[in-house]
């Protein structure tokens, strides 16, 4: 995959942030850091070292949990999920995998309200993968977090073995094998894009530091909160001990929307569209790639002869989808965003179908390979250069958060996607 290197370095923790990047991969690491990653091994850790219970002993007949000294400062297991259990002792779970820890920020929000139930149902990691959900909220959303945990209790998901809630990322991200960073401040009225970059950047800088300190050494991070690409960059720059290639920015919703629009135009069902890439920033400069995309295995341009539509209308249709949806439904697209997060994770943990890509190929262990046979023409290249320039400008604008000096914000016009204000 073509890659423009911004800050090549042989330092072990430095990464090359590609100035453009394909769907789901905001920042891809250099080969050096990739190889280095292979030598990093997670330290041995004790699971369930601290399980304590939000249920009072008065409530529970058989006391099963050990309270810690200061519950207020720690994330708390919730309700029924505070009960001890022994996975191995249970006959029906003998074929289950080892428990996986998934931390989710913005857990009280609408996207999470869809996503958490999909995770718990086994839709993402499969029907033999027990799961621990660690929910990160804010002081303000604390009660709402409890509401979410109550609904998870009432759902009786067999795979869902632990739920804990908290407001401190240093606590909630502990031992996380996946960190799904959904929470971000929405853009207020009159707020400049630079101000949004700064306010959210600070959140993601802190979360990066927290991941670096307490998460699994091979934690996979998916940044959903916007501006997701630059947030992902900030996050990874603040987590030097985690392989940079583990950080992803979600553009899968755009990819899915692009597939649907190509299907509609070609008059085929959406499962006939493959090899779709979204290059660049998750903004109006993004580049849904129809040059490399295929329909029924054929290049899109051989199937859709209307080049004007491809070059002028297609991208607009993808980008305006979110805004159109808000107009129709009155809310932003929480459900399909959650679906796209599921898709993104599944693409990383299951082998990519032969010949297809989701901008990267995966051999099924949460790792991925870069695709080599991507083609470019002048049109695609010029659009990629534009979105690259925007990413570079954003990067300079958050230099104070990435340890690269003094921020200089000279951003192009407002390129926030409709529906993401």
């Amino acid at each position: 995959m073509a890659m423009v290197e911004i800050s090549p370095s042989s330092s072990s923790h430095a990464i090359k942030a590609s100035s453009f990047h394909s769907s789901k991969l905001s920042y891809v690491p250099s080969r050096i850091s990739h190889q280095r990653r292979l030598n990093v091994r997670p330290p041995p850790r004790t699971r369930h070292a601290k399980v304590f219970c939000s249920v009072t002993s008065k409530e529970v007949q058989a006391p099963v949990a050990v309270p810690t000294e200061d519950p207020k400062k720690k994330s708390e297991c919730y309700g029924v999920f505070c009960l001890t259990y022994d996975l191995k002792a249970e006959e029906e779970t003998s074929s289950w995998k080892k428990l996986i820890n998934v931390s989710v920020s913005g857990a009280a929000g609408m996207i999470s309200n869809h996503l958490l139930f999909k995770l718990a149902a086994g839709e993402v990691f499969g029907p033999d993968q027990p799961i621990a959900l660690k929910l990160l909220g804010s002081e303000r959303s604390r009660e709402a977090l409890e509401g979410v945990a109550m609904e998870l209790e009432d759902s009786l998901y067999p795979l869902l073995r632990e739920v804990s809630i908290g407001i401190d990322p240093y606590d909630v991200f502990r031992d996380a094998e996946w960190a799904l960073l959904i929470g971000a401040k929405p853009r207020g009225p009159g707020m400049e894009r630079a101000a949004l970059l700064d306010i959210n950047g600070q959140i993601f800088a802190e979360q990066g530091k927290a991941l670096n300190a307490v998460a699994s050494r091979n934690v996979k991070v998916i940044v959903v909160g916007n501006p997701c690409n630059t947030n992902a960059l900030i996050c990874l720059k603040n987590a030097p001990n985690i392989p940079a290639k583990n950080f992803h920015a979600l553009t899968r919703l755009d990819e899915n929307r692009a597939k649907c629009q190509l299907a509609l135009k070609a008059g085929v069902f959406y499962d006939k569209v493959s090899n779709v890439t979204i290059w660049g920033n998750h903004s109006t400069t993004q580049v849904p790639d129809f040059l490399n995309a295929k329909i029924n295995g054929l290049p899109v341009k051989e199937v859709i002869k209307d080049t004007k539509w491809l070059e002028e209308e297609f991208t607009e249709k993808v980008q305006k989808r979110g805004g159109a949806l808000i107009k129709k439904w009155g809310r932003s697209s929480a459900a399909s965003t959650a679906v796209s997060i599921v898709d993104a994770i599944k693409s990383l943990v299951t082998p990519t179908p032969e010949g297809d890509w989701f901008s990267t190929e995966s051999n099924g262990d949460g790792d991925y390979e870069l695709v080599k046979d991507v083609i470019f023409d002048d049109y695609l290249w010029s659009r990629i250069k534009t979105t690259e320039a925007e990413l570079l400008a954003e990067k300079k604008c958050v230099a104070h958060l990435t340890g690269e000096g003094i921020a200089v914000c000279d951003l192009p016009g407002d390129t926030m996607l409709p529906g993401e204000m």
Copy 2:
């Protein structure tokens, strides 16, 4: 299962509505109507006789759909789901079952917003069951329905082969094999319960007539909209050609909540609790049955010795859950309600685990058997008599909607569950 017969009749269309009923089974039919049901065969029908497209021919390069004469009056397939396809021609789908038609009312609401994506993901009917979703909304929610359909498009679910939207139940329920009736008018400020029964009863009377006229002859109906038990009665009374035993009122959320509360009290994980029944009305007179319930295969009373808690606090905890959740989260429990609908359907289409029940047993084809070895004691019996009396009063209050004469509303005090106002 003990059953009090209200209107025994040998008339072919009459059914015996049991005055109390267990989880998910609001009204169970007599043996006569059951046997009769076996002789009813659905008439041959042509699938996809009318597929037309909301995409203009200008948009679609290869025209694939046939518009009908008056799209405004008919439900419309939506967007990409208007495209023709041939399941059998597709290699990857060779192991798929025949397409199943699922109609959902209240499709633009929050419960549906969770449920539809679970249905489309295969969480309910399995990964080899292609599905057609027929979404029923109101004139007012028409645009929101389109928003939901757009999000379903963008989700690229391989199993989701058709989506149509409409506001006429005679159209949306056509050939439905499952009808999930979620939509109901919420209770306005100052509205009497009798008025709520009437206003919603009229909706369900109309929907019953529509199902009777156009649905599959063996359609399974799950009524979620409250007051769900009496709505289910009204619906089935207006659908004499559909087996009465196919109508269910959803009390599975109560059942799930009851399991969770028993697990918490006993200090076990919720998967250890089985054989839980919710008797009677989905109201504050409902009877979560701890006498027959089991924990780790043992009667609950042998595990939880605190009889006072069981008799006084347990039921309240189950009933107040919805209200507590609204207080925490600020919204009603859409996600866990959707999960309970999934559970209810799955219980009907998959074999019930040996020894367990969900108030009924199922042999896995959407049909069920009544459980025989239910026990009663004075406490359980007296509480069942109370909820029975309430159901009978509600029945008299909607006599004008069930073809049983003039309505007489003499309802006990307000028994609406907290959180369902």
